[in-house]
């Protein structure tokens, strides 16, 4: 297989591994209209969400998430559907500052109704899809890849097969000049000191420790012991015994490279190096934060099996065990269970995964993409209910 990477060139030396036309509703009530446009179009994608413009403690975080998601380099264009509130207009402005490739704005109030938006949106979406299809990939440097690491539905083999295999592929990509990001703060609880020891400076190491402690404080403040929720029921059924076992296994995704920095949720990911991003373990909140940070491909390791994907980031599913990979093959792109079966070595599966990441980066469609799994979740810090 050719080891040449090809991608879509964007401004500021950013690169897209896909050329999506994203229909982005900036108010929850516009979600159905956005979905309708995408469903009827020649290949545009859309997301739904539950934000109605609330100006509360989470406002900045949500604005940052939407603007980053819109500006992700995998988007050829983003069609914003807006009712035109100041918060929504701020999202569009910030997306432009982040170097969005192409932005179209459909203002519901100017067009007069949601059904009129659906008609106008479909026309624009199809013309953008046509433009996107006409653009060609060109040869790209390894720094064009920003890899996100994710695990969900972990089991007893996660830390032995799939996560270390992802670590092998991540190390190789980082060495070549790509960026790779570990997230899921709640799932490295208990293993943070090991990651901190791999930071390029003591300050970054201290930041890793503090990021985990800060998350725990934000939950303990509510009078709840976060350690009581981990490992989850599904994890225990999958054979995980303790939080430490889960965390030590989860941390394996990041391989053995040094950490070049710590990122806040949805921060823009630098071009090269291994980073830690503060995200919830919640799979779709994490995926959304990754996308908002500009990550353009994800490897998602899973023990129990999950269909979840992203509207804009190809999400490669790596199974930890052969039993699950054979039982639900339409969710899994590659099986690392062969390591535990004694059929392949860790290095071999790590190499297969590296090749698969490259193939997917070059355009090969993942199972989650084929199934149109476009889940999207906003990560909020504060309560949304009057207690």
């Amino acid at each position: 297989m050719s080891k040449q990477l090809t991608a879509f060139a964007r401004a500021d030396e950013r690169w897209g591994l896909r050329n999506h036309v994203l229909i982005l509703p900036l108010h929850s009530a516009l979600s159905a209209t956005a979905r309708k446009i995408a469903d009827e179009s020649d290949g545009a994608v859309a997301v739904s969400h539950d934000w109605s413009g609330e100006v509360d403690g989470d406002f900045d975080r949500i604005i940052k998430t939407f603007s980053g998601f819109a500006a992700n380099p995998n988007n050829y264009a983003t069609v914003f559907i807006t009712i035109g509130t100041p918060g929504e207009l701020l999202i569009i402005d910030l997306a432009k500052k982040l170097g969005i490739n192409k932005a179209e704005v459909l203002n519901v109030a100017e067009l007069g109704s949601m059904s009129k938006i659906a008609g106008a949106g479909l026309k624009i979406a199809n013309s953008l899809v046509k433009e996107a299809k006409a653009q060609s990939r060109i040869s790209a440097p390894w720094s064009a890849i920003a890899l996100g690491q994710e695990c969900g539905g972990s089991d007893a083999l996660s830390g032995i097969t799939a996560n270390p295999a992802l670590g092998v592929a991540s190390d190789r990509l980082v060495e070549l000049g790509a960026a790779s990001v570990l997230g899921e703060t709640t799932e490295i609880l208990g293993a943070e000191h090991l990651l901190a020891a791999r930071a390029i400076t003591p300050e970054i190491g201290a930041q890793i420790i503090e990021t985990v402690a800060r998350y725990e404080r934000s939950i303990n403040y509510e009078g709840i012991d976060m350690r009581g929720a981990q490992p989850s029921r599904g994890n225990i059924e999958g054979g995980l015994t303790t939080l430490e076992e889960k965390s030590l296994g989860a941390a394996k995704k990041a391989g053995s490279a040094q950490f070049s920095g710590v990122l806040e949720y949805a921060d823009q990911v630098p071009k090269s190096g291994l980073y830690f991003m503060d995200t919830p373990g919640h799979d779709t909140e994490q995926l959304t934060g990754f996308a908002a940070g500009g990550i353009n491909v994800v490897v998602f390791t899973t023990g129990r099996g999950t269909p979840t994907g992203s509207a804009i980031m190809p999400t490669i599913k790596l199974a930890t065990n052969t039993t699950m990979a054979s039982a639900i093959p339409d969710l899994i792109d590659l099986n690392a269970g062969t390591i535990a079966d004694g059929i392949k070595t860790l290095a071999e599966v790590g190499g297969e995964l590296f090749d698969l990441i490259l193939a997917v980066a070059n355009g090969q469609i993942t199972k989650a993409e084929r199934g149109l799994h476009h889940e999207f979740s906003l990560s909020r810090m504060y309560n949304t209910v009057i207690k």
């Binding site: 108010h27 929850s28 009530a29 979600s31 159905a32 209209t33 309708k36 739904s48 969400h49 539950d50 109605s52 609330e54 009712i83 035109g84 509130t85 519901v108 109030a109 100017e110 007069g112 109704s113 949601m114 059904s115 009129k116 539905g153 934000s218 939950i219 509510e222 709840i224 976060m226 929720a229 981990q230 989850s232 029921r233 059924e237 999958g238 373990g281 919640h282 799979d283 779709t284 129990r304 099996g305 999950t306 269909p307 039982a327 639900i328 093959p329 339409d330 969710l331 199934g371 149109l372 799994h373 476009h374 889940e375 909020r380 810090m381 504060y382 309560n383 949304t384 209910v385 009057i386």
Partner: protein
Amino acid sequence: MRGFDHGNRGIGVRDHQLILPSVVCSTRVSSRIAKEIGAITFAHQHGCGFIGNDVGRITDYFAALANHPNVSSTLVVGLGCETIQGNELADKLLAKNKSTNYLVTQESGGVQGTVDSGVAAAKALQAYYQPTPVLLPRLHLGIDLSNDDLKVDEIVAALTSVGVDITVAASQKNSGLNFSDLMESGVHVILSFPDGNQPASGFPLIPTINVASNSPLHLALSDDFDLSADATNEEIMEKIYSVINGELTTVEALGAGEIIAGREVRSV
């Protein structure tokens, strides 16, 4: 007033089969099943990664959705490893309503397997449940009062005088959260007075009649509202009766309607 006898769920004004994803991970599978059989579903971001009171809160919320009087039958679709276990939720629902079933993707052969089994299970539920048109003995109307400046005393008095039960939700500053509160109290129809800076919106299982204000946004979006700001009490009451008897609200016709469930603690 036309109604549908939904057994222990009560008498509803719509006859919706609900495909309920018990976790965000099964929303796509649910939407494929729903599309194939003409049922109702919706995307949401809940079901996993939460702790504390939210586990009970969201479980109760899902149970209220599945047991709503406008629902004929419910198919719960879970993933398998989530916090809210689909089978436990379904068991809880089955204790009250026999027209409930559940499926778990991790035990049903993956996405296609779950869609196939889900379509079959949903059809079996349809066959089990035969719609029985009846008269609605008493209307339970929900009023979403997100628009502070508005007084609804007059319309409330007029409706109460003809025997309508009314629940007003004004505690949340957001129509979506008010809708959720009203859904949990089992209202048949929602009369929504959104804030002047908010568009018309709705709730998937409950017909939502949107009344505009004279705000610039509402005037610009007048087509999306069922009634204008100057609608009389008689016009409002007439609209409520037509909607009960089958007329689709503008938001129902658009297929719009997201669910917004309140949370106490951030995700883990």
